[in-house]
């Protein structure tokens, strides 16, 4: 069977699985819709959180980014995993004990303020939307390349599937579907990595193969070889640092804190039975994520090595078929500048003849390594699982924010449970249509906006939630001002350097040499300082709020995540 046939079969089977699971686990109440009635076991919740978290960016783009960034790529590996430590130790158990549905619920109740709730709702919707648009785009790329359908149809199919199980199933359906999606995506990620590790280094474990020797374990070390090859072509050595030290720390911190502050990740810890399960569930989530995240740097090294070996200085006519097919999508371009018919791939812009979109490395990797066709189809199914699971989780946050935080707790407090459930489903449906529209007509900066969503989450939510738990003295004046100033500062810095004055977006102009990607760390510090200072200057929170804080600090007495007034 050819690649396309295998892709149809494997993608079709995986979709049938998701739909089956969604029907089996559909939601019947708002409790089930928002937090799966807080009945999901810790291990499964960890797996679902892993799938929810690992998006098209993790599955499709990350290893490719690292392949071209080398040591600098560590910011993604450290940033997107280290955040779970903060989440497990500082947020998850307390938010579970608090026991309401959403992040705005916590912010609104803890600071006893409608304004704080509304600021949090707007932040949550904004962060989630920027994210979901990127997922739809990821779905579209996989469909158009592997199924050779038009990108428009690709997005429509993706929208239909997500609509079906997010709208019917709510959090319960999504959680169990995500467990299935995790299994598909991790299998699809590991199989090619193991194959290529065996081919290159003779080691079955990619994490070890990355530090192994080439020629099946008898030659020189893989990493040293890659360093030399890169330097010979004029690139930096693979293991050399290019970013400024402070910038690297700032980006890593922003990604870590942003991870801990993302609403669709936090809400996961409301879905488990007990506080103890919320702690262990964060541990399971990181365990399942770590399997992919420790494989990714190995995939990056293998991909860069194989890419250079298979194209550099080769006659164009001799390069295998995968090159032609990616060239058709426009994601690889070759321009024979010196007219010798060979591919020169070097750092020097004037002589370089090859440009490669970094996003295609993971998808192209199995083809470059000449793996069997079914492996290539499997990778397509895995990429779709990653994109769809994240999109579904995000859509749920958006619909919850609108139905629960905006309507039930804001505009129409008297809405019935039935009405709220219908509103949530309509909101999810509308959100899918809007996301699909942006997937079809992406603003040029989708990928960047997704990365910036972390900075914005870091500068807004994280300090408000952390202080809400660990400082009884922090009041609504401090928290609200902190959130607003933090998010405005971060957004203004990003907008200035990316859109208003992109020509000055260089190290010399940056504040302390920190790039727009890392500025969320500074925004977070500003938020903390303002929140603490203003709280000191204004009256302490009322007694019932202080008692609530005392109460969420101990696990005893945690019930199900409950509806308001129950």
């Amino acid at each position: 069977m050819n690649v396309q046939a295998w892709t149809f079969v494997l993608v079709g089977l995986s979709f049938a699985l998701y739909i089956g699971v969604a029907i089996w686990a559909r939601a019947r109440s708002t409790g089930e819709f928002y937090v799966a009635s807080a009945q999901v076991p810790g291990v499964l919740n960890g797996m679902a959180t892993g799938a929810d978290w690992m998006s098209a960016a993790s599955f499709v783009s990350m290893a490719g980014l690292i392949a071209f960034m080398g040591r600098d790529g560590s910011v993604y590996l450290l940033g997107w995993t280290g955040g779970y430590v903060l989440l497990a130790l500082l947020l998850a158990p307390y938010l579970r004990k608090f026991g309401k549905f959403t992040v705005p619920d916590f912010v609104g109740d803890r600071y006893a303020s409608q304004v704080a709730r509304m600021v949090a709702v707007l932040c949550a919707i904004f962060v989630s939307f920027t994210y979901v648009v990127g997922q739809m785009r990821g779905v579209a790329i996989v469909f158009s390349r592997f199924l050779e359908v038009d990108i428009e149809y690709g997005i429509l199919i993706g929208m239909g599937i997500v609509f079906f199980y997010a709208v019917l199933g709510g959090m319960k359906g999504i959680t169990y579907t995500q467990v299935a999606q995790y299994c598909v995506l991790i299998f699809a990620y590991l199989v090619p990595a193991i194959f290529i590790s065996l081919q290159l280094t003779g080691t079955i474990v990619p994490q070890i193969g990355m530090g192994g020797r080439i020629d099946g374990g008898t030659g020189p070390y893989l990493l040293e070889t890659l360093d030399t090859v890169c330097q010979d072509l004029g690139f930096e050595a693979y293991t050399e640092r290019g970013l400024g030290m402070l910038d690297m720390c700032a980006i890593t911190l922003a990604l870590m804190v942003g991870t801990a502050g993302l609403p669709h990740v936090i809400v996961r810890f409301y879905t488990v039975k007990r506080v103890a399960a919320a702690r262990s569930s964060a541990g399971w989530a990181l365990f399942f994520i770590a399997i992919l995240y420790t494989t990714a740097p190995a995939v990056a090294v293998f991909a860069r090595t194989n890419l250079i070996a298979s194209v550099s200085e080769r006659p164009r006519a001799d390069v295998p078929d995968w090159f032609n097919r990616w060239e058709e999508t426009g994601l690889i371009t070759f321009q024979d500048k010196n007219g010798d018919g060979r591919i020169q791939y070097v750092k020097d812009e004037a002589r370089n003849e090859l440009t490669i979109d970094r996003d295609i490395m993971v998808l192209a990797n199995p083809e470059i390594a000449k793996l069997p066709n079914w492996v290539i189809g499997l990778v397509a199914a895995g990429g779709l699982a990653a994109a769809l699971s994240t999109a579904a989780g995000l859509l749920l946050v958006i619909s919850t924010s609108i139905a629960h935080d905006l309507f039930k707790r804001g505009l129409r407090p008297n809405i019935s449970e039935h009405g709220e459930l219908i509103t949530a489903r309509i909101a999810a449906g509308a959100a899918i249509v809007v996301a699909g529209y942006f997937g079809l007509h992406p603003p040029g900066f989708v990928a960047e906006v997704v990365a910036f969503a972390f900075g914005l989450a870091a500068a807004s939510f994280f300090p408000a939630i952390l202080l809400g738990i660990f400082s009884k003295r922090t009041n609504k004046y401090g928290a609200v001002t902190g959130m607003i100033v933090g998010i405005l500062f971060t957004a203004a810095y990003i907008v200035y350097f990316r859109f208003i004055a992109p020509e000055s977006n260089t190290k010399e102009h940056w504040l302390f040499g920190i790039s727009p990607q890392g500025i969320g760390s500074v925004g977070m510090v500003i938020n903390f300082v303002i929140a603490v200072t203003i709280s000191k200057l204004t009256p302490p929170p009322p007694d019932d709020v202080q008692r609530m804080v005392e109460d969420i600090r101990v696990p005893r007495g945690a019930g199900e995540a409950h509806d308001i007034g129950a």
């Binding site: 995993t81 990355m210 720390c249 890593t252």
Partner: protein, 96 residues
């Protein structure tokens, strides 16, 4: 917890519980910062002089090692906190 917090009145137990909790957080988060920002970024290149097969140690920490430590940190946290919950009698009942 050798003094036996279970014999103290509930309000003292809760204070003790919170203080111990903050100590555990302090230690674990220091290790978290040390492996990620310390070994993975700031001292990463110096650590590279120590070799681990084909890896420099600093490069290994930045791309794999820190992640393993993160998982371990959460495991240790879960074990310590579950024990502390029981010792201070603030754990959840088996049945709701």
């Amino acid at each position: 917890m050798s003094t036996g917090p279970a014999n103290r009145p509930p309000s003292t137990r809760r204070r003790l519980y919170w203080r111990r909790n903050l100590q555990i957080l302090g230690v674990l988060l220091s290790i978290w910062a040390l492996v990620s920002f310390g070994c993975g970024i700031v001292f990463s290149e110096q650590l590279d002089s120590i070799r681990l097969g084909g890896f420099g140690l600093g490069f290994w920490f930045a791309q794999q090692g820190a992640i393993y430590v993160f998982v371990l940190l959460i495991v240790v946290y879960v074990i310590l906190m579950n024990a502390l919950d029981r010792a201070c009698e603030v754990d959840e009942k088996e049945t709701r």
